[in-house]
């Protein structure tokens, strides 16, 4: 399993439907709106780095998503 945390900045007021849509993606464990420098935090848990990459691409291309930053787990 590879985990990652995707931090999202959304268009104004769009965080609710971004969270709704992101939650439907298979590898997404959790997604919730946050306070701070980002609007939404997404916890992704994929079976391998390929699925992780696909999931992150899907999230970052969503309508309402303006900017994403992904922090990927270091596999040891």
């Amino acid at each position: 399993m590879v985990d990652a945390c995707v931090l999202i900045r959304t268009e104004r007021g769009k965080y609710r439907d971004v969270v709704g849509k992101v939650k439907r993606i298979k590898a997404v464990q959790d997604a919730y709106p946050v306070l701070g420098r980002y609007d939404v935090v997404v916890h992704v848990s994929a079976k391998d780095s390929k699925e992780l990459g696909r999931t992150v691409m899907k999230v970052s291309r969503m309508v309402g998503v303006v900017f994403t930053e992904t922090l990927v787990e270091v596999e040891r």
Binding site: D3, V34, L35, G36, E69, L71, V74
Partner: protein, 75 residues
């Protein structure tokens, strides 16, 4: 349930040790070493807001932690 995501910057060598200590803190659902802007990412799941704050302060006490950024669930 109140969730939060803590982004922790550690001094270069200390990442692993910080991770081990972080995993022992109550309320920490998942923690991992990360590539990118943060060295350790902590996913927290607690009953109350205050618990997130004392987890943040516990993380601050760990030797090797340089700074933390807390993204707390919006409501």
């Amino acid at each position: 349930m109140v969730k939060a995501c803590l982004l922790v910057k550690t001094t270069p060598v200390k990442g692993e040790r910080v991770l081990e200590k972080v995993k022992k803190i109550k309320g920490v659902k998942k923690a991992f070493l990360a590539y990118g802007r943060a060295d350790v990412v902590i996913l927290v799941d607690t009953e109350k807001y205050e618990e997130v704050l004392n987890i943040t302060s516990k993380v601050h006490e760990i030797d090797g932690v340089r700074s933390t950024e807390t993204l707390i669930e919006a409501w």
